[in-house]
Amino acid sequence: MSEVAAIKVEEKLFSNRYLVDAGRPHIRVKPHQTPSRGLLAMTRLCPAGCYAQNESGQVEVSADGCVECGTCRIVTQGTGELEWNYPRGGFGVLYKFG
């Protein structure tokens, strides 16, 4: 992901309202050596830019800005790499216009 694109998506998320369930992320990446093609693609594909690859090659998620589209769940289907749930009732993104 280019630096410019990363900054832009954060700017987009600023207009949204969230109620973050602090300390209880609804998406977790399970420990892995090498990410699957799908999981790696999420570093580019996540509309909220929640995924990033660390220096040693693993993909990490920070789901605070998640817009709950579910793309990552579908793309990593069958790999078992993600523990994916919707946020607890009432938490997460809160659309004003939808």
Partner: protein
């Protein structure tokens, strides 16, 4: 999934989700006197929901005939613009008619967070109980496997009912994880992004040649999706413009684009940019759209359960219709449950099959069946349909309209040659044949 011994149901029906299909189902059942519980994970109905959004009056009229009296509607659509775009141009088919300025308009732009809130207030007024901020975590089954209730993230005892209507959306976890239907495939869903651009209403009316509450809808395809299967859109609301773009998830995985990069370049297209100039962005949303059509429709009913709306893949991608299919499937599921409840018949797989049978007689299944070959055709021919042809059409238009001393017969020849060289007669005949066959 937990198994339970038979215990007294607390409700006649449980509806999972409060989007258009869930609200339609809950409203119809509650209006007919059933004791309905609806469970929604958002703070209010609409807080998790995303759509373009166009409301098709007919489907809602069949549920709430007087909805126009107090539903939050933005503009009624009087003009439809269908664009094929290359990087610097668009070629359009526009249809605008004063006939759409009618007493009961046919289509409206809406803001889903506000519209769904209104619809759900009607559901509650009809007598349904609605639990917000509650996520259904699993279905409860009896020893025979029949669904008899749900568990939620609020814990406590399961909530019991003879039938559960799953209106849980495209990414509905309850039904997928319970094995009631297959997992959604990356090849049959689109990832769509949308931004809300606010402008004074006078500016919108001047820019789009509108007066009063008239509205315009633009649907676009072409090089804007960079060779991926997808479309862009721009809808006029009262004081805002909804602009967005979506492509099949598989194509996104294969390609090199970021979704927001694609949205940015669509917004900066010379045909779109002036329409959005000076606007203030107040929201950024993303959502999956089921686009697999007829062939992606899962099993829709079983012992003690029904599936409606996006969870059942009820979207007509060709006509950009979804919320009307959602409301119609929700209504017919509800009518089926009401009928069985009154007859004191079991919510068995055999009895609930009436739901699917009745759907076959509606536009929902008829339209999806008609277009069953289209998703595969577009996905398989994406290079032509979203690249080659849009470029050729633009070049042809430019050749035709540019006055440069070249005679018209030579221009005709040049246009035909460009099509032949890019795609070949055989290729074009094949595309035409496949399109006609898929369209029938």
């Amino acid at each position: 999934m937990s198994e339970m011994q038979a215990q007294e149901p607390q409700f006649d029906a449980i509806v999972v989700g409060a989007g258009p299909s869930g609200n339609a189902a809950a409203y119809v059942m509650a209006s007919e006197g059933l004791n309905v519980l609806q469970i929604e994970r958002g703070e209010y109905s609409g807080s998790k929901n995303v759509q373009g959004a166009i409301l098709y009056a007919d489907a809602l009229e069949k549920i709430i005939p007087d909805f126009r009296e107090d539903a939050p509607l933005e503009r009624h659509v009087i003009e439809q613009r269908m664009w094929t775009m290359d990087d610097r141009s668009h070629t359009g088919v526009h249809y605008r008619s004063d006939d759409f300025n009618e007493e009961k308009p046919n289509r409206y732009t809406i803001l889903r967070a506000q519209f769904d809130k209104w619809f759900n207030a009607r559901v509650r007024a009809a007598g349904a109980t609605v639990l917000f901020e509650t996520t259904v975590t699993e279905l409860v089954r009896d020893l025979s496997g029949k669904v008899i209730g749900v568990r939620t993230d609020r814990g406590g005892n399961p909530i019991m009912a003879p039938v559960v209507v799953l209106a849980e959306g495209v990414n509905g976890l309850v039904g997928q994880r319970s094995g009631l239907r297959e997992e959604v495939k990356p090849g049959t869903v689109a990832l769509a992004l949308k931004e809300m651009h606010f402008l004074p209403r006078e500016v919108i009316e001047a820019r789009f040649n509108l007066s009063g509450n008239e509205g315009v809808v633009i649907e676009a395809m072409g090089t804007i999706t960079k060779g991926m299967t997808g479309t862009g859109f721009l809808y006029t609301n009262e004081e805002s413009i909804s602009v967005g773009i979506g492509c099949i998830v598989d194509d996104f995985v294969e390609g090199g684009e970021t979704p927001y990069g694609l949205l940015e370049s669509f917004k900066n297209h010379p045909s779109i940019k002036p329409l959005l100039a000076g606007s203030e962005i107040k929201e950024y949303a993303a959502h999956l759209i089921p686009e697999g059509g007829y062939r992606a429709i899962p099993q829709l009913y079983g012992d003690g359960w029904l599936v409606v709306g996006d969870a059942g893949q009820f979207v007509n991608a060709v006509h950009r219709e979804g919320s009307n299919l959602a409301m119609t499937t929700g209504r017919i599921a509800a009518e089926t449950v009401v009928m069985l409840t009154r007859k004191r018949e079991a919510m068995s797989r055999a009895n609930l099959a009436i739901f699917a049978k009745r759907l076959e007689e509606t536009f929902v299944m008829k339209d999806l069946k008609k277009y069953k070959g289209i998703p595969g055709l577009l996905h398989g021919g994406k290079a032509q349909f979203f690249g080659t042809y849009p470029r050729l059409i633009s070049q042809a238009m430019q050749t035709w309209f540019r006055v440069d001393g070249v005679d018209k017969k030579s221009k005709e020849g040049a246009i035909l040659r460009s099509f032949r060289e890019a795609r070949g007669w055989r290729g074009m005949m094949g595309d035409a044949f496949r399109l006609v066959r898929a369209w029938r």
